[in-house]
């Protein structure tokens, strides 16, 4: 099927006349992986060659649903977990299975292990074949600005950033003056005024200091923690990350007696009390839980990792969960060696990375791209789950102006969402936390620029190429995330399902994306189909 042609003269080439529909039999056979282009545009991935089978399954599902009692249907709705609606065939099959019908016909799937794109049958294999309807990553804007002054502000910001990219620093400097004047006229307490001032500030720092040597007034670990904590309180992004990750980790640990969580950035360990409590309440009793927390070394002699570990141990003891903690101090994730984590073959391992992987996208070290190094040793650990939460934006584009533009829209939206938080000092300190991120994206280059956010579509490719397969987050996680958000009085946050991943955004703009992965064991000398439990 070629690209669809919407002009009237295509009537002769359209696939149906007004009285008959199924002319697919007259089309030449499609390459096996070819998706139906029109269904793909509507958000469903169905291979052209599978259309008849999928239709047949839908018919069967309807027949079964008609025969089912209302009780059975409501069980189907309330208890069944739905996954990845984009993979329509699988979704229909899962409903058929829930309604206890005959096992569905299986669609032949390549299991050739020498093909890097091949996966075992029960893993979504469409991830690599996404028809890019909107290009690699659509740049999304929820326009928060409407008045003329705001539009002017954005316009001059863009012009200034462009001058910076060109190296015309004297013009850029003049434009900074214009921007300061505009900021004076705009309401700088909210919206574009607030975020605009941070961007003007970042631009002027970049003009004054060379980006490779950008020096932030480095905060003490303590000050950093304060900002982080207030960001955690003021808006739901971190809570969503923790919550969704814990849900997926809990499921991955089902039936396991010895479990080991490796947290790539322990911080204050805010994520773990909830998991400890959930494990305590697990039917059948809690497992032995080991937690390895990675974090930067404490400069002031405190062993902050250990302090957090002790607090968590205290909590675990109070709910009768056998618990062991280990801290691993490392300034960079690619400084961590697997032996430091002391994993044992008996344990089920969960690797938890909340906004950490993007820091590895900087310049290569002597050992190669840091991200590849780290993904490689993660894979060697053979975790049952690798949980990845990242900012949903592309702040790692090669051209400065592109990064600047994208960041402007991303952080405008994030600030917009913060506007509804009225608690102080949470809000002000949360804004400072975000400001530091903005500064890093805008002012820095080279190894100092660590906020190298990339969107979900790119992480998917990266992780698949590194030998991981997606684990889908389902309707139960989705529903609970939505319910979590109702705790925030602000209606404006939206959770969306995106091919097995969940995103949290403000209005229709996703800002944070959560995805779960499992490692495909590296091929050994024996070739054969892999059985996944």
């Amino acid at each position: 099927m070629g690209p669809h042609d919407s002009s009237i003269s295509a009537a002769a080439g359209s696939t149906s006349s007004s009285s008959s529909a199924c002319s697919t039999s007259t089309k030449p056979p499609q390459p096996p992986d070819q998706m139906d282009h029109l269904l793909a545009g509507a958000g469903y991935k169905v291979r052209s060659n599978d259309l008849h089978q999928v239709a047949e399954r839908l018919q069967r599902l309807e027949t079964v649903m008609v025969k089912s009692s209302p009780v059975e249907i409501s069980e189907l709705v309330n208890d069944a977990v739905h996954y990845n609606p984009t993979d329509l065939a699988s979704w229909v099959d899962s409903l058929l299975t829930e309604l206890n019908t005959n096992p569905p016909l299986s669609v032949p799937v390549p299991t050739d292990l020498s093909d890097p794109n091949a996966f075992p049958a029960n893993i979504n294999m469409y991830a690599n074949h996404a028809p890019q309807v909107h290009g690699e990553f659509s740049q999304q804007v929820v326009a928060p600005f409407e008045e003329d002054v705001s539009i002017q502000l954005v316009h001059v910001l863009m012009t200034c950033a462009e001058a910076v990219q060109r190296g015309d620093l004297s013009l850029a400097g003049l434009l900074i003056d214009d921007l300061q004047a505009l900021l004076g006229r705009v309401n700088s307490g909210c919206g574009i005024g607030k975020v605009g001032s941070f961007f003007v500030d970042a631009l002027s720092r970049r003009i004054v200091n060379s980006p490779e040597n950008a020096v932030h007034a480095d905060l003490s670990a303590y000050e950093n923690e304060i900002l982080y904590h207030h960001y955690y309180e003021a808006c739901p992004y971190l809570k969503f990350a923790h919550f969704t990750a814990n849900q997926a980790i809990l499921e991955a640990f089902d039936g396991q007696d010895c479990v080991h969580v490796i947290d790539f950035n322990l911080m204050q360990g805010l994520q773990w009390p909830a998991l400890i409590q959930a494990l305590a309440l697990r039917p059948g009793g809690p497992p032995l839980l080991r937690l390895t927390g990675i974090g930067p070394p404490s400069p002031d002699g405190r062993d902050s990792l250990r302090e957090i570990g002790l607090k968590l141990a205290e909590l675990a003891r109070s709910v009768n969960v056998r618990f062991a903690f280990r801290g691993v101090a490392a300034s960079r994730l690619d400084d961590v060696k697997p032996w430091m984590l002391q994993v044992s073959p008996k344990e089920a391992i969960a690797v938890n990375s909340i906004m950490q992987l993007h820091r590895l996208l900087g310049p290569n070290s002597s050992r190669g791209p840091p991200i590849d190094l780290v993904l490689d040793w993660i894979r060697d650990l053979n975790p049952r789950i690798l949980m990845v939460v990242e900012q949903e934006s592309n702040h790692n584009q090669p051209e400065f102006l592109d990064r600047f533009t994208e960041a402007l829209y991303y952080y405008s939206t994030m600030f917009d969402s913060l506007d509804v938080c009225t608690a102080q000092p949470e809000k002000a300190l949360a804004e400072l936390y975000i400001q530091r991120e903005i500064c890093n994206v805008v002012c820095c280059e080279g190894p100092v620029r660590v906020e190298r956010h990339e969107p979900l579509v790119r992480w998917r490719d990266r992780l698949i190429n590194a030998g991981f397969a997606p684990l889908h987050l389902g309707s139960n996680a989705f529903k609970q995330a939505r319910m979590l958000l109702t705790l925030f009085s602000a209606e404006g946050y939206s959770v969306e399902e995106n091919e097995g991943c969940l995103t949290l955004g403000w209005h229709s703009r996703p800002l944070i994306a959560a995805s779960a992965w499992q490692a495909i064991p590296k091929p050994s000398t024996t070739i054969g189909p892999i059985n996944h439990p």
Binding site: S7, Y44, H82, V92, E146, H507
Partner: protein, 352 residues
């Protein structure tokens, strides 16, 4: 019943392309799961299953889009679709788009602004649903128009009159944007919608009559109307082409005020409780009716009612079309309708 169901399934398969059949059947079955017998709606599962797409400031096939909150008090979002600039100003196309988000539509031309209300029987879908994003993008190129797709509040959580109020808010908002004005400093507004969106078009146009705002035309695709009695088409076509009387009843009950029946004027504008439309300045209408849509008798009565009240109506009756035929460009009805919409919206020079 099982036997006739099988017949129904094969019959509907014969009249639409296979991929359309899959799409509509998928909606039908998913929606069955979402409607609860007690009148409540499984919104969590609905949002999980709905396939959404993001807005995109980068032009794709000559169209870019962005979202705007047009009423903060109720978080009313609209997605704006605009034709991308033909010439770039030396910079990357990206920079041009950003400067043009709210750049005036035209100082030299008349550019129609189509306010679009998506379908979903008042309960389903959103402005950012994939199927409606595609349709709106198509309308931009087709009519060289700006399209404003309104993310109105849905039933049963927000029944009558929320959707109409949101439609009205959008109309006022569009009419008051300087950057949506054409060369004559006026905003050239058309209203368009399918299914429940078509119903909203009528109500918003009606409300506009009493105001200063001029609506140049209404486009109703398979609009959702009904009434207390069971019409011949409802009885004849019940469950045969993806839709049942039972589900129509459920959606009306979810939308209409408590205690009201389907002769409420929102559902049945030309019924016993409807107001007369005679003598008012109502816009011209393009009403598209699918011959295999079970509510066609109500839709035809609507077109007829407009005519009898003295208003200009173009009725497009597509004998072999089912609901949703305009969602995928794989059938003749689709192309016919797109042609008609183009002619309806495009200003004819020298004929003002």
């Amino acid at each position: 019943m099982a036997g006739s169901d099988q017949i129904n399934l094969s019959e509907s398969k014969r009249v639409v392309p296979l991929n359309t059949w899959i799409l509509m059947s998928n909606f039908k079955l998913a929606y069955n799961l979402l409607r609860r017998p007690d009148g409540t709606f499984n919104r969590h599962l609905a949002e999980f299953l709905d396939r959404k797409v993001p807005a995109n400031v980068n032009p794709v096939d000559g169209v870019f889009s962005f979202d705007i909150v047009i009423d903060r008090t109720i978080n009313l979002l609209s997605r704006i679709y605009r034709p991308a600039a033909k010439e770039t100003e030396g910079g990357a196309p990206l920079s041009t788009s950003i400067a043009q988000l709210e750049k005036p539509v035209s100082t030299s031309d008349v550019v129609p602004v189509i306010i679009f209300f998506h379908g979903g029987s008042f309960a389903h879908s959103s402005a950012n649903s994939a199927i409606y994003d595609i349709l709106c993008r198509r309308l931009v190129g087709l009519c060289n128009a700006v399209v404003v797709s309104v993310n109105y509040r849905r039933a049963p959580e927000n029944p009558y009159p929320s959707a109409y109020d949101d439609g009205w808010t959008a109309l006022e908002w569009v009419n008051s944007r300087p950057w949506l004005q054409s060369k004559d400093s006026k905003v050239h507004i058309f209203l368009a919608g399918d299914s429940s969106g078509g119903n909203i078009v009528h109500q918003v146009a009606l409300r506009a009559v009493k105001s200063e705002i001029q609506v140049l035309g209404n486009i109703l695709l398979n609009p959702m109307f009904g009434g207390k009695t069971r019409t011949e088409s409802e009885k004849r076509l019940d469950s045969r082409y993806f839709v049942t009387i039972q589900d129509r009843d459920w959606y009306w009950k979810a939308f209409l005020p408590e205690g009201e029946d389907r002769d409420h004027p929102a559902c049945n504008p030309f019924g016993p409780k409807g107001a007369s439309l005679e003598g008012i300045k109502f816009p011209k209408s393009l009403v598209v009716v699918a011959g295999l849509d079970l509510i066609q008798d109500w839709q035809l009565a609507y077109a007829d009612g407009l005519k009898r009240a003295g208003h200009e109506v173009k009725l497009l009756y597509l004998e072999k079309a089912t609901i949703g035929f305009y969602l995928l460009p794989n059938n003749d009805h689709f192309h016919t309708v797109m042609d008609e919409i183009h002619n309806f919206v495009t200003p004819i020079p020298d004929c003002e």
